[in-house]
């Protein structure tokens, strides 16, 4: 077995163990209802997390996704409800805006050599601020298309409702796996994450790939915003505050190394579902306090990072005077 699959394997095992534990306590975890709800409730996080996986594999970070999701929702709601525009046209416009937004961030990061952390942080302020400027109210959307989409449901025999959001999540997942492992762009992303100087010397278009990675992330975040808007049938500028941290945590739990170069989209899928399973468990249990979810996610994060560390630097973990890894310093 290749050692690079090991973090992924651990993620799967932990997920199965936790799911089995939940199933042991509440048999409803075996029903399609819980599974479908898991997919539906985490769809927007999951879609954004798949974009974030590419960013982190390339050795960068994108803090703007939560704000982009919120901006998209508000923009759609305003244009459809107040301006009476056709939703399909609005979706096309907002996807275009998201794409340009990501490309501009990529240009700042690659050509002006400003750390991704700060560029995407300003992007986060900008997108959230634009959402606030548009409106701070929550707007309901009652367009017929939204109603039609909300009725696009496959109902399982045990009343599990496989909604449009869940379907979109799975579709983006398949697409993400395809892009990561079966396209030239995907291989380039892995290459620049592993070592961008070496990648450049091998003829990988580092600049174009870097810009495309941030473009993809913003595009998917915008798409996540549309999916959330369709699911909630409303736009609100105060939603998904801090979602970028949940997304990054999901990617890390999914076995992607933050130093770049190593990671799997399917791992991110598990990393998104894992906190969702714990949240469902806490809701079903009812006696445990809500703050445990944050602490458990923190513990999980620590566990996975410590494990990755153990795998990559086994022999000298506790030697106090040990060195940091040289040269590999592409992130902010």
């Amino acid at each position: 077995m290749k050692s690079r699959f090991f973090p992924l394997l651990i993620t799967f095992l932990v997920f199965i163990a936790i799911y089995a534990f939940c199933y042991y306590h509440f048999s409803s975890f075996g029903s399609m209802r819980v599974v479908c709800n898991l997919l539906r409730d985490n769809a927007h996080l999951g879609i954004a997390a798949i974009g974030m996986t590419f960013v982190i594999i390339s050795g960068g970070i994108d803090l703007s996704v939560g704000s982009v999701i919120a901006f998209t929702g508000v923009f759609c709601a305003l244009m459809i409800t107040r301006e009476g525009m056709d939703p399909r046209l609005v979706f096309a416009i907002v996807l275009g805006m998201g794409t340009i937004f990501g490309a501009v961030m990529g240009v700042f990061i690659y050509y002006l050599k400003i750390p991704a952390f700060i560029v995407t942080l300003s992007g986060m302020f900008l997108a959230r601020g634009m959402a606030y400027v548009l409106t701070t109210e929550s707007i309901r959307i009652t367009h017929p298309l939204y109603i039609r989409v909300s009725k696009l449901v496959y109902i399982f025999p045990d009343k599990g409702r496989f909604t449009f959001a869940a379907g979109a999540f799975l579709a983006v997942l398949v697409l993400g796996i395809y892009i990561a492992h079966f396209t030239r762009f995907g291989r380039n992303v892995y290459a620049i994450g592993g070592n961008d100087t070496a990648a450049l010397m091998m003829g990988v278009p580092v600049g174009r790939t870097t810009i495309m990675v941030y473009t993809l992330s913003s595009f998917l975040a915008t798409f996540a915003g549309i999916v959330l808007s369709l699911a909630k049938r409303s736009g609100d500028s105060t939603i998904t505050v801090g979602a970028e941290m949940d997304v990054i945590a999901a990617v890390v739990i999914g076995g992607t190394l933050l130093t770049g170069g190593v990671g799997y989209v399917i791992g991110t899928f598990i990393g998104v579902l894992l906190p969702g399973v714990i949240r469902t468990y806490l809701t079903l249990d009812g006696s445990l306090s809500p703050w445990w979810i944050k602490i458990v996610i923190g513990v999980l994060l620590f566990g996975f990072i410590a494990m990755q560390k153990l795998l990559s630097t086994r022999p000298k973990l506790f030697s106090f005077r040990r060195q940091t890894r040289p040269a590999n310093v592409s992130t902010a």
Binding site: I114, G123, L126, V133, S289, L301, F320, R322, T324, A332
Partner: protein, 366 residues
């Protein structure tokens, strides 16, 4: 031979403090000028927006005015930016300061409530409560430091753990409530005045001076910079990089704890959800505006404090202006980007290239 060695070593021993000069306090080419200029411009714009911006009056033994409010409001950001500057100088970043603020405020509020409830335990006396809260902050910093220095985990991620879990811990401490308190000592930290000046300003000022002297009057600052520039090279020259990193994260935790106490004292309650929310980003931005690079190395505490003042005067200016109140974040993003562009070498080169044809034309017409 021995004689020669002595001669070589002697001057080094005499100058234990390398190149310290008071004229050098705003170190770093002309970055200091740009940053100060930005502050002055924003203050002038504030003055244009509100004619009474520079007016300071004495009301009930307390100075009031927008300028004083700016200083008062900037105090927590300055406190955070002190620790953040040191952390960023070692090529790290501390995302957990907001959560640490919440934890320490929660600890202080919960303990002081036991004192108010009539408990005689000496640990619940205000002085001890403050001490315990600061200790809690130091512990949080120690945790971050251990992850970064000993486990060699990327700082963004190492501190992300506490950022995510910290709010949960704060909620656990307050049992999901936002405890209010009436203790005067704790409230004084946020609301008190000395000679009319708000107490938080003194807290931030003293912390700034103490840490400044600590890093600049000893070799510590130099060691921090050397670890940030090249951790490996400093190790070979005998710098204990791990201890330096541990130290800066602990200082950051302590600064966050004090900032948390200031905010809690101001509100006389500790809200585990909103205390210090987004303040980690404010602190990072203050440090970056102050000219300390995220890639580590040279740092300047005083300019970080100026950066914090810029952020706060921007915020106050937007408050009192007729501008859309929700445009705050947009303006902030644009200002950050402008400052970053001014600092980016690549941007200056690009601009230079754009102007080259014009210069050539000039040369021809001469």
């Amino acid at each position: 031979m021995v004689e020669m060695e002595k001669q070589v070593l002697a001057p080094v021993n005499e100058h234990k403090v390398p190149n310290f000069r008071w004229s050098n306090i705003f170190r770093g080419d002309n970055r200091a000028l740009w940053t100060l200029l930005a502050l002055i411009i924003i203050l002038i714009v504030d003055r244009m927006v509100s004619p009474t911006f520079f007016t300071i009056r004495m009301v009930n033994g307390r100075l009031t005015g927008s300028l004083i409010n700016t200083l008062d409001g900037a105090a927590p950001i300055i406190l955070l930016s002190i620790g953040m500057t040191l952390v960023i100088a070692t090529k790290g970043v501390d995302l957990s300061v907001g959560a640490v603020m919440a934890i320490c405020a929660a600890v202080a509020a919960v303990l002081i409530n036991r004192h108010e409830a009539g408990s005689d335990n000496i640990l619940y006396y205000p002085g001890f409560v403050i001490l315990i809260a600061i200790l809690a902050g130091a512990l949080c910093g120690l945790w971050n430091g251990i992850l970064v220095a000993l486990f060699d985990i990327q700082p963004i991620i190492a501190t992300l753990i506490l950022m995510v879990a910290g709010r949960g811990i704060a909620q656990m401490i307050t049992e999901g409530q936002s405890p209010t308190f009436t203790d005067e000592t704790l409230a004084y930290i946020g609301q008190g005045t000395i000679f009319g000046m708000p107490f938080p300003v003194y807290v931030a000022g003293i912390a700034l001076v103490v840490v400044f002297l600590l890093v600049r009057r000893t070799a510590l600052g130099l060691l921090i910079e050397s670890v940030g520039i090249n951790s490996k090279a400093s190790h070979y020259t005998g710098v204990n990089a791990a201890s330096i990193k541990l130290f800066v994260y602990i200082i950051s935790g302590i600064c966050a704890a004090i900032a948390g106490l200031v905010v809690a004292g101001e509100n006389t309650y500790a809200d585990p959800h909103t205390a210090g929310q987004w303040s980690e980003l404010d602190a990072i931005v203050a440090v970056v505006i102050g000219g300390t690079l995220l890639s580590g190395g040279r740092f300047n505490l005083l300019l970080s404090a100026v950066g914090a003042l810029i952020i706060q005067s921007l915020r106050i200016g937007l408050y009192i202006s007729d501008l859309h109140p929700n445009a705050n974040l947009v303006v902030k993003a644009i200002v950050i980007l402008l400052v970053l562009l001014l600092q980016s070498k690549e941007f200056k080169q690009t601009i230079g290239r754009l102007f080259k044809p014009i210069l050539k034309l000039k040369a021809i017409f001469k």
